[in-house]
Point group: C2
Chain length 721, copies 2
């Protein structure tokens, strides 16, 4: 069974947690102040059709149902157990469940890994137990699972509290919501349903002792009820698994929107103590999400905006917006915000302007953004007629209507918005200003029911639109082969070379370059020299001018050590440089093991970039790209992808750095050979896929020549895992 | 009378527009669909105590008041007129008002500069007329003035429409709101009052034919009712005037918060057509605002958040936040957002942790952010006790309480929040999640009345807090002398040199350097040479190595023209370089007037920066700073201030660029002499204050040496206005 099949099979194994025919509530109670009381009330009151067995050895009957002392006393088959007991009892209860043949359990109980110390050990035991018996669990320390398709609300927040997300009757029930914070997830979910969004499932994953975020994600990708997946994530442990599920989701064209926290150290600290999850470096998460087409909102409001656009099937395939605003000022702000978010304010075509000026003879000029209040005052239908003309303009990809709280807009205008939506294939989006009141919420829900997304908050709206445009582009772009294979012979040669190194070892520059060469990456020719005389003879073989560099595994930063001399044009210069370099290196790091110098051909002038391989505890090998010099060192201006990297990824990496325009030529220089950089990125990706034992690799610098002239590695470094 | 006195006197002249004893409503009407009807209704219904005279030649009486055919027919003194008639009539009516001795007028009528063409001419006539007779006007094309102190609502939006901002009874009425978009301003104002903010005045400035944004700002700075000034700005015409008022406001410790639009070209276009105002480059606005301590929110929501903090007198003097959150996830997000906004997540002191662990023995560890739900469950007063311990921690500058909509928080917790607020001198801020409902609004208003600011929306809240921290720092920092005066003799010498140049002329490099020298800016020594032989002799005088550079007014970018050769160490190299440079220059720009080459001393190695003078149509002369090379050219990484620049400004300019860490040393290099850069900035500022006829000046590069070693201008360029 390959990894994907295994993941899918694991996902199917979760079905009993969502669709059990019978549930045992262990720790059942009469009282609504206790988790075991709340969940039982849900099962009895919310319309769940399956069988429910309360388990509590201190009671005979709860709410009219017979109560069993233990799960083994239940005379019928039990598919799933909800466990709401104190920590010390959990293990024993799970053993009973296993004996009973229960397929899955939701464990509310807290006091496991999240409290550290003994809790971690308890959780490990629990994990071992369920894995041995292939039992599936959600939690511990979770808020439970809600299934809106069979009304199984296996959660310990009571519906009556107002803090429970109830789909509105007309909601479409297509969103599966996964959260690593139960409490916070609930508040997001309640806000979502108040805006008319509808859930298929809600899953609080808790400590993820056995089933994790990716397992539930895989379940929802394969689930026919779900077409959109939303999540709140603090951190995962297995990046490869998430990569597989993300590919499944992309294949299934189900958008995945994940609000990921822990961007900064200060907050990572909190995330750690919260779920015990390993928070990887945020940049790797960001890059990985981009690579896999996972949409990452920057705020909860933006998450809700994205879900609103997705749920109304607002297909956004271009960036050019026509903006209709309810005042001049409103239009100006919308235009600002659109451009800030990376959208374009459409330039209306001549024909559109001509048609509009026939309809609106009294308007001196029509420019985008369009102030629609004037039109609306003239005639109720004029507004719609104008909007239809604009919708027909090939320069327009979407129509944005921006106005203040509904009070400000007359009902007939909404109706025209709905008619317009039905008469055009272009997306129609309504954006309302902040200051959300009950009336605004009602307005949102009303228009959304007609297929028009209404988003509250200008900033969130435009960011959400841009993210959907990018997602649509990503999901529609062809999937690519991600390999730059090398011959069997070369691979075997590299394998032998690497086999000689112990963990943590560093390869010398010349050996690192040999490996690059084997993978088809051009390197600068060089000779090693132990004496000044050898250096001169090496220079003569290479041809003047040459570069001399210190050769020492103990000196990684040659420039800093003043261990490098460029453009040496004669034997005399080479001899002098040799001595100077040795002296500098000894001064820089007394006691360093110096094996001599490398004489290297002096490469033609080009642009210096850095390409490398890194290693992330969650996602594994990564490939990095940046511009040489201060941009990388001082501004950290690099881009990154998780290996394997496909060609589109590599091109995106080039575009993603802030200084990308440098690659297009500067100070009268021609553009650099970008394709050559892309090839190096792809070959490094292949190298680390073939040899994951490589922990780090730096090509610094890779000299890139002008278009069509290729690139050449001037220096290289490899560190083994 | 100096400029400041004149401005203050103009501000006093606006009093009749705000506090008239008698008002004539010209174009008065019975009908609430007409501006002249709405404004009259306001005067009669809202509690305005002054006299009101309707003017309309077609009616004898309106709403029980005698109606006059013309303003001249009114038998009593008229302080102010509200003009709500068609464009062609406005001029005649103003003439009558002048004849009547009316001191000021609010002109609703549109059809002036904002429609272009004939409208511009009409507005010019109107401006000339009122200026001649020293009459003050607001508008035309404005929505009017509302004064909440005397209930004079001189606006044409009706209170009954729900689109009219009415202060809540408990509101403090301290905010003056100025807006260049009447319609948009109203929607902001209505949202503001719904959140419990209270206005002293609301002014829609319209086309600003006579009194402009800065005049009204000056009025509100000197007005005793106002302690906070908020604005919506699309663009101003006179930067110097705004600078004066900003200084007045800073002196008076009245914060000015302006939401400025027109960041991008696409939207600037709309701003232009909207108010006819000149939209200057947005970067100059941003820099100017920072320089003058004007707070610039990025969104309307952030504007409202800032006003809430200011109105509750939340004094923020540090960046270290203790975060109490209603769930673990909520805390993580808050920490993320705080750090993103430039705040710090406070590290609680050992003592605090010790005290807390005594109170909370069951909590394994207490880290910031603090999840307060647990405490709240244990004991109602525990929460407050813990918060007080945290408030006492010297590492904590503010206490942030972040929770979901009020439903989620028990009333006793709010009460404890209020008690806490009263027991600590540290700022207490509540931040609630989005999904604003009526209940949330009520909650905001309730806590605000107790002096606790409640902000809806995490993103906006943290940004607003950071802006207030920065503002407080700015307003508390000492005002500085902004001059680096030069001797009378030097100044006279420069004056004579500049007098020789006609507008648009460029000074040669050597002359530009002479001017820099006169202002105490070190420059590289140099000699001009017309022949190779002269170049060699110049090099010998300067001492090898030298630099040769093309000397031509027609070639501004010497590097691009390959017209510069560095590090020439011998007569032979100088001769060769001379020929090569001339050949390159001729090839680069055939026909260029080449006056020879400059031989220049080769400066010691240092860091290349750019310092220069620019010119903005709104704000006048500016001083710019950036790092040499790609950072400036490709990333546009520069900072800027409007001249005159004070020392704090100059230090801020150094800190503001993205690559600022380069100044602290890199690749093992020592930090550069930052003070030397600051001095050059201040001297350039002085130069352009003394000689505003300088349009542009570039020192590119200024070579900065290590700390204590100064800086030296290697190249210079001056262009005259």
């Amino acid at each position: 069974m390959n990894e994907l099949d295994e993941l899918r099979s694991r996902a199917r194994g979760l079905i009993p947690l969502f669709y059990p025919s019978s549930i045992a509530v262990i720790g059942a109670s009469e009282e609504l102040s206790k988790p075991g009381g709340i969940v039982l009330a849900h099962f009895l009151e919310d319309g769940f059709q399956g069988k429910v067995f309360p388990v509590n050895h201190r009671q005979k009957e709860i709410k009219g149902l017979q109560c069993y002392p233990a799960v083994l006393d239940i005379p019928e088959q039990v598919d799933m157990a909800v466990i709401a007991v104190a920590v010390p009892l959990v293990k024993g209860i799970l053993q009973e469940c296993i004996a009973k043949g229960v397929k899955g359990a939701i464990i509310f109980s807290s006091g496991f890994a999240e409290v550290g110390g003994e809790g971690i050990k308890l959780q490990e035991e629990l994990k071992k137990l369920v894995n041995e018996h292939k039992m599936r669990i959600c939690g511990p320390n979770c808020m439970g699972i809600m299934n809106y398709n069979n009304n199984m609300m296996a959660a310990f927040t009571y519906s009556g509290s107002g803090n429970f997300p109830v789909n509105s009757p007309q909601a479409s029930k297509t969103i599966c919501f996964l959260t690593q914070s139960g409490g916070f997830g609930l508040s997001v979910a309640v806000t979502a349903v108040s805006q008319g969004l509808g859930f298929s499932y809600y899953v609080s994953t808790g400590n993820e002792a056995e089933s994790d975020f990716s397992d539930f994600l895989a379940f929802s990708v394969d689930d026919p009820q779900t077409s959109i997946i939303a999540g709140y994530m603090e951190g995962i442990r297995n990046g490869k698994k998430l990569a597989l599920v993300a590919d499944m989701a992309r294949e299934a064209k189900k958008p995945v929107v994940i609000f990921k926290t822990g961007r900064y150290e200060a907050s990572s600290r909190a995330a750690l103590s919260h779920t015990g999850a390993l928070t990887g470096s945020d940049m790797v998460y960001s890059s990985f999400f981009r690579q896999k087409g996972i949409i990452r909102p920057e705020s909860i409001e933006e998450l809700l905006a994205i879900l609103t656009l997705l749920e109304t099937k607002t297909i956004l395939q271009g960036e050019k917006a026509a903006i209709f605003a309810s005042s001049g000022g409103h239009g100006v702000i919308m235009a600002d915000k659109c451009v800030e978010a990376g959208l374009e304010v459409a330039t209306l075509s001549e024909e559109t302007l001509r048609k509009m000026s026939k309809l609106l003879p009294s308007f001196a000029s029509v420019v985008n953004p369009i102030d629609f209040t004037g039109m609306d005052l003239i005639s109720q239908s004029l507004f719609k007629a104008c909007a239809e003309i604009v919708a027909d303009d090939p320069e327009v990809d979407m129509l944005i209507f921006s106005y203040w709280v509904p009070k400000n807009i007359e009902e007939h205008t909404w109706e025209q918005l709905i008619q317009l939506k039905n008469s055009t294939s272009k997306p129609v989006i309504a954006i309302i200003m902040a200051g959300m009141t009950g009336a605004a919420l009602e307005h949102m829900v009303h228009l959304k029911r007609q297929g028009i997304p209404v988003i509250a908050g200008l900033d969130f709206a435009v960011k959400a639109i841009k993210k959907i445009v990018d997602y649509t582009f990503k999901v529609n772009s062809a999937r690519q082969e991600i390999i730059r294979p090398v011959s069997f012979l070369e691979k075997e040669r590299v394998e032998k070379m690497l086999a000689g190194y112990s963990p943590g070892a560093r390869l010398s520059e010349s050996q690192a370059k040999e490996i690059l060469l084997a993978y088809g990456i051009p390197v600068a020719r060089e000779r090693r020299a132990a004496t000044a005389r050898e250096a001169v003879s090496a220079a003569e073989q290479l041809g003047y001018p040459v570069v001399l560099k210190i050769d020492s595994q103990d000196i990684l930063h040659k420039t800093e050590a003043r261990g490098i001399k460029l453009n040496l044009a004669s034997a005399g210069q080479v001899e002098e440089a040799f001595k100077e370099i040795l002296a500098n290196a000894r001064k820089y790091k007394p006691g360093a093991n110096i094996t001599g110098v490398l004489a290297q051909e002096m490469l033609k002038e080009g642009t210096e970039v850095i390409v490398g391989i890194g290693n992330d505890p969650v996602f594994g090998s990564t490939v990095m790209f940046g511009l040489g010099g201060i941009l990388v060192e001082q501004l950290g201006d690099v881009s990154l992808r998780v290996a394997p990297v496909c060609e589109n990824d590599a091109w995106e990496m080039l575009q993603e750095i802030k200084g990308h325009s440098i690659l297009d030529g500067m100070r009268g220089k021609p553009p650099v050979d970008k394709r050559a950089i892309v090839e190096v990125i792809l070959k490094l990706s292949q190298l680390v896929v073939d040899f994951p034992q490589i922990a780090e690799l730096d090509i610094n610098p890779l000299i890139v020549f002008e278009e069509g002239r290729g690139a050449c590695a001037a220096d290289a470094l490899i560190v083994m895992k």
